[in-house]
Subunit: 364 residues, 2 copies
């Protein structure tokens, strides 16, 4: 089918086909879920900013980019230390081409966007090495649940993405606390995945919180509170609140597995109505293993947008083919939604041309 | 028609009929727009709280009531000095009976709800006697416009209400600054309308800002900034952003006319797609004149929910028939939307029974 041409199925083929049939004629709504964690400032752990301290601004800047087509709280756009731009460029391009409505939800940020966002009264997260990473997890989940429930009454289906630097490390924390073996399996925004550093950071956090692998299998709230991040709390609540009524495409890479694990513990039934939507760069990544994590949690399909930047004239985009960035701000999932909503009229190539146009305008 | 049985048409009969035909088979989305103004603390100006200082909590408490069926930031529910409860009781009852989705948008509040709300980064308003009532009006309008535009892509039509104590006085300020003769015409939450006090307060504000009647006919941003409130900014932006695409029922009393005046100055065309939805208590009020204000602005229909509490066994509700409270938190407009959505199955009487049930539970 034309509109599925650019969508790869990476896991649970039957469930993936069912999910695609459910959503292919529906109108998507995109939610960008943001948060900050001090964990992002551990040197060499995240490339979601030119230097550790500026990662505080990345989620806010990503949201501004989606709403205004430019950032307000920083000059230019968020970029890696090597200058490779934020995947929000992909998201922005897809949202515009398919005229998809967008909202932002904050689980707890250090820098607030100069743009409208749904405030859940969560606070930014601490360094997970403290073992006390996130405050008021239960309240944030409940408030997000209300928001998800209300969106589910007006939207056909949701595409939920995230922006939180350091998020794969906190995801690893939650996964290990909940007994999902994710060591050496979470992905990275860097071309060389700093697995050992991430494991060391998580182990320090687990130790500080006196948690062994799997201790919190049935206590996701404590897992997030100890070694997670505020985005995971907000995102999980959104899924729980909405997916009993409408399909939810969880738009992201291996971080989505931590949310799956939380959702399974809190409201298992809704897993039937969710899929992960990511990028080809994630499912083909040799330094991570999203299927290996998901298969421990449930029969949740993994779809991937067949984005390919290898023929781009722009070096800053070609770098994505070398494993930089890979995913974020719902880039893969919203690309899938765009292919579907436009009946394939917006192809992977057409999307790349729009991304290149936005790159030239915003990055130069 | 059965579903129109409890809806009164108070102004612009033809336009009202057209508007009702447009929305009668559509699904509504309710937005509660909140703000605070120090103006509310001027003694004897507002009954939206038991005493002036507690009016800071009223908007947050109203939002909590809509989301949770109970308030979090105060005990009980907001009430007048005589103990007559908030019109949010009506709104809550209607939303629940018709299963209408709800969101909250803050133009700038002193007390934040313990509930999810869309943050526009506005600040609470000052006493309008300073002539410097609201900061960042333009930014708040623009951010609200983005929110309205995104909601208009997923909702069939919007019902927008407000909660801001002191709001009729700030509305009077904006109306006079923009050259709409509203003296002795704005309504009040009190049975005896303190017109002279309101006029005196507004005149002091206009004088402080060096504004004469009508000076700001074409400058609504300055009118709000000088003698308005943050709710008016947010509400106006929501209307501007949405009403070019979908119908908008502006749910409130005479405060809606200040918003109409702002909208007319910023994006006149959209007035064709709006109506005011209020209560019978407002259109039959002898101490105010909503038609007399609207007719100076444009051919905007006024619809009213035929709510009648005179046969209620509950004194705190019967008081509404004596002119207390009258309107607020979108009570009239959302009642109309509920009659329509349920095809008349929820009648004015059925709604009253639900309100009485909630009264007994929440007020005792």
């Amino acid at each position: 089918m034309k509109k599925h041409r650019d969508i790869l199925i990476a896991h649970c083929e039957k469930e993936a086909g069912n999910f695609l049939s459910k959503i292919e004629n529906l109108e998507p709504l995109f939610i960008c879920t943001i948060g900050n964690t001090e964990t992002a400032k551990i040197p060499e752990i995240s490339a979601a900013g030119k230097y550790p301290e500026i990662t505080d601004y990345t989620p806010a800047a990503d949201v501004e980019l989606l709403f205004y087509g430019e950032c307000k709280c920083i000059d230019g756009v968020p970029a890696t230390p090597d200058g490779i731009p934020t995947p929000a460029l992909i998201t922005l391009s897809a949202l515009n081409l398919a005229d998809i409505p967008v909202f932002a939800v904050s689980g707890g940020v250090k820098v607030k966007p100069y743009a409208p966002f749904i405030n859940l009264r969560g606070e930014p997260g601490e360094d997970i090495r403290t073992g006390k990473a996130v405050k008021n997890v239960e309240e944030v989940i409940r408030r997000a649940e209300i928001v998800g429930s209300n969106f589910s009454k007006i939207a056909d289906y949701l595409v939920i993405g995230e922006s939180i630097p350091g998020g794969t490390t906190t995801a690893l924390g939650v996964l290990l606390a909940m007994g999902v073996d994710a060591e050496l399996k979470v992905s990275s925004s860097m071309p060389v995945n700093p697995h050992n550093l991430k494991i060391q950071v998580v182990e320090e956090g687990l130790k500080a919180a006196k948690i062994n692998f799997g201790d919190l299998k049935s206590d996701p709230v404590k897992a997030i509170a100890s070694v997670g991040d505020p985005m995971i709390a907000a995102f999980s609540g959104l899924v729980i609140g909405s997916a009993s009524r409408i399909p939810v495409l969880m738009a992201g890479g291996t971080q989505m597995t931590a949310i799956l694990s939380v959702v399974r513990a809190l409201k298992k039934d809704v897993l039937e109505n969710v899929a992960i939507g990511t990028t080809r760069w994630i499912i083909q990544d040799k330094s991570s293993d999203i299927r290996g994590i998901v298969s421990q949690i449930g029969d949740v399909p993994i779809l991937a947008a067949n984005l390919n930047f290898s023929n781009s004239e722009i070096e800053g985009l070609k770098a994505y083919e070398k494993g930089v960035v890979k995913e974020g701000v719902g880039a893969g999932g919203i690309s899938i939604a765009t292919f579907l909503k436009t009946g394939g009229k917006v192809s992977s190539e057409a999307l790349l041309r729009e991304i290149e146009k936005n790159y030239r305008k915003l990055v130069g």
